[in-house]
Structure formats: C-alpha cells, structure tokens
C-alpha cells in the first residue's frame, strides 16, 4: 500500500466517522415526560428515596433519569436500581443526585438518551420507577414502551407509595 492510498483511506474514514456523529446529533431525541405522584401518607413520614431509570429489552440499565436520595448508606434499599445501575457507577450517582421530595406531584421531562447523552436506538425498553420509604414500604413500577417514532402515553396504576402516574413518549 502506498502512502497516497493510505492517506485517502484515513481521509475517508475520518469523513465517515464525522458524518455518523453529525447524523446522531441532527436527529432530535424523543422526549419522555413523567408526571410523578408521591402518595400522601399518614403517621410517621420520612421522604422516600426515588429512582427512575430505563432498561433495555435485555434488562440492562441504559439511563438513570432521576435519583432523589439523602445518605449513601440507604441507596442499597432502592433494590433493583442499585443492583442494575447505582452500584456500578459512583460518578453517575453523584452527578444525578437530587434531594428527596415530600409527597406531591412532579412534572418531569427527559430526552430518550443513554447515560452518555447519546440518543437511544429504536427498540423496546422498560421504564422503572422505584420508591422506598423508611418505616414505609417499597413500590416498583415497570412500564414497557417503544422508541419507534410514534407517540405513546400510559397511565401507571397507583401503588402504596405512588398515586396514578402519567408517562408519555413523545417523538419530536
């Protein structure tokens, strides 16, 4: 192989990789909205620890959407999220941490991207919402959805820890 051909190949490869990354950023990511509702409780009340995340069809966590927590000691109690995502990536946990919230409704909006802000591929995913409260209970909500360019909306049934939650997948 002479130098010219090698140079040409490198040039082509760089154009190709440039094009793919440009392509990715040009596609507008799907928007995901959640109207999260933490249930009003009676008696002793500690604000719940909450995590919401997206798993691939193979059960791998691809994106943690939110984490409301206080002490690291109790992160393990958000059982599935801790096993699937939290324990494996301390930086992600630090980066996404927010304070716990009292009972109420929360309008949340996210982009359908992975933890590295890359758009998620088309396919079937599951949204998880896990709520754990000291001296209270635990609730885990799972809702499969599709990223395929069409709009989907779901009403997630109330649990001991949550009221009805609205969840929408909104291609832009």
């Amino acid at each position: 192989m002479n130098i010219k051909i090698a140079g040409l190949i490198i040039l082509l490869l760089s154009l190709f990789s440039f094009n793919t990354s440009a392509h990715k950023s040009l596609v507008k990511p799907t928007e995901i909205t959640i109207e999260l509702a933490l249930k009003q409780q009676s008696g002793e009340y500690h604000r719940p620890y909450v995590a919401s995340w997206i798993e691939s069809s193979k059960g791998k966590s691809v994106r943690t959407l939110l984490l409301w927590r206080e002490q690291a000691k109790w992160l393990k109690d958000i059982r599935r999220w801790w096993r699937k995502a939290g324990r494996k990536d301390a930086e992600l946990v630090d980066g996404i941490t927010a304070a716990t919230r009292a009972a109420g409704k929360f309008q949340l909006s996210f982009l359908a991207q992975n933890d590295d802000q890359i758009n998620l591929n088309k396919g079937r995913y599951t949204l998880f919402i896990e709520v754990v409260r000291e001296n209270g209970g635990r609730a885990i909500i799972r809702q499969p959805f599709n990223l395929n360019g069409s709009k989907e909306t779901f009403t997630l049934a109330a649990t001991n820890e949550t009221d009805q939650i609205k969840f929408s997948v909104l291609p832009q």
Partner: protein
C-alpha cells in the same frame, strides 16, 4: 422455569437419600451494601439443621474474610455464645468480600462397637492400635467442608479464587446479582475439575415455620453446573456434598467435600 417445576424435575430424578451432616453456615447481616466511607457487618456462625435459626455455636477461630484485593483478613472481634458465635467486621473498600469459616482438610475414621457408632480424627496409618479390638465397619474419609458467603459493597468484583482441594463452588451468577425469578448458575469443582453429579440442596430461610422444609434438590450436570430460579426474595442456604473412592490410597477409603453457601435473592 420456576421453583416448583424444578422441584418436580428434581424429585423425578429420584435422588438417593443424602447423608448430609449437620448444616453449618456463616450468615452476614448484609449481603449488599452501599457506602461512601465503609460499613460494618456482623456475621452469625452456627451449626444447625433449621435454616436460619441458630443451634450450636461453632467457634469463630477459623473465620477469614478475603477482601476484594485478595488479602486474607480476620474479624475485628468475635464472641462465642452457646448457640452461635458472632464476628464483627469493617468493610473498608468497595467490592466483593468472601467470608469463610473453614477448618483444614482432615482424616476421619468411623467405626462401630456393637451398635454404637464412633469416630476418631486419624487416617488409616495413624489409627493402628487406637481402635478397640472389636471395632467393625472401619471406614476412613479425607474430608473438607467449606462454609462460605459473599458480601458486596458498592460495585461487585470477582473474588472467586479456587485452590483445587476437594469440593468448591464457583459462582457463575455473581452472588450480588441473585434476584427473585432470575436464573442462578453455580459451578462445582472437585479437586480442581468440573464435577458432575454433585448432590445439592437449596433451603430457603424460615424452615421452622414450614411443615415441609421445601429443600430444592439438584444435581450438577456434565459441566459441573446447577441452575435454579428462586421464586421469592430472601436468604438461602445451599448445601452440596460429593465423594469419591480412594482405592489407591493407603490413608483413606474415600474423599468427601462439602460446601455450605449462604446467599440472598434480592427483590426484583
């Protein structure tokens, strides 16, 4: 496949009655922890046939904790009561710790005098002159029991080193990944090689409160593996035993390895 199906399959395999000795275990307060600056655990050590109610205290003298970096450490303190021993231990760094309470491999000779069964810790070369003249059914075994568990703080690591002595359990499914309704795979080695036909029982916590102990009986396959799916979250004791004849040994008639592994299946 669920636990019931597995039980049915296992039953149809018509396993011969196991002669498992007393169960033993190490039971940590936590199997999975999250912490920024380390965390304490305590470990119960007992011999009991009632999972997980303690019965007879085993000493904690042999308790070792292998850290994620492979260092062999000891509990910071231990206490021996009448029903159990307790060990205190601080997990300083992230990763998977292996807890063990293993004695050393040893020769045991059993015999009968009249109808009474007796035993002596000696091999065939050593027991000469030590047994009564009317001793019958003299059998010597070379045996080693592994009493173990795994505790993971933050991200799990592979802390599964083997030493090739008699029976060993190698987690294929990481112990910190075990969750209800998900298949678990463990592999057995005997003297360092994959071992088929290892007899295994998996017993869920709370045996005192069940009429049927509901022990799940399994046998390792050609690859030395067992597969099962815990259908509920909770703590489990796995008891495995395997023996081989030692016809060419002048010290023992057979070699017997056993493993007592404590683990938890997490909520999913």
């Amino acid at each position: 496949m669920n636990l019931k199906t597995l039980i049915i399959i296992a039953l149809t395999c018509a396993i011969s009655t196991q002669a498992f000795a007393h169960s033993r275990w190490v039971l940590p307060t936590h199997f999975n922890l999250s912490a920024e600056n380390g965390e304490w655990i305590m470990v119960d050590i007992t011999a009991s046939n009632e999972t997980f109610n303690v019965d007879k205290a085993m000493g904690a003298d042999y308790v070792q904790i292998i850290t994620p970096s492979g260092e062999v450490t000891r509990p910071s303190s231990t206490y021996k009561g009448h029903r159990k021993s307790v060990a205190d231990y601080f997990l300083a760094s992230s990763g998977t710790y292996k807890l063990t309470n293993n004695n050393k491999p040893a020769y045991m000779t059993t015999y009968k005098v009249g109808e009474e069964r007796k035993r002596i810790w000696a091999n065939k070369a050593e027991f000469a002159g030590k047994l009564p003249k009317n001793a019958k059914e003299i059998k010597t075994s070379y045996r080693f029991a592994r009493i173990e568990s795994y505790v993971t703080m933050n991200a799990p690591t592979e802390n599964f080193a083997t030493d090739g002595t008699l029976l060993e359990l190698v987690p294929v499914t990481h112990p910190s990944d075990i969750a209800e309704n998900e298949q678990v795979t463990f592999k057995f080695l005997f003297n360092g090689k994959a071992q088929k036909n290892v007899a295994v029982e998996v017993i869920a916590d709370g045996a005192r409160y069940r009429n049927d102990p509901q022990a799940l009986k399994l046998i390792s396959n050609e690859k030395g593996e067992i597969n099962f799916t815990p259908t509920s979250a909770g703590r489990y004791l796995l008891v495995a035993e395997h023996q081989e004849n030692m016809s060419d040994s002048t010290l023992a008639d057979k070699q017997v390895g056993s493993v007592f592994l404590t683990f938890e299946a997490q909520l999913n």
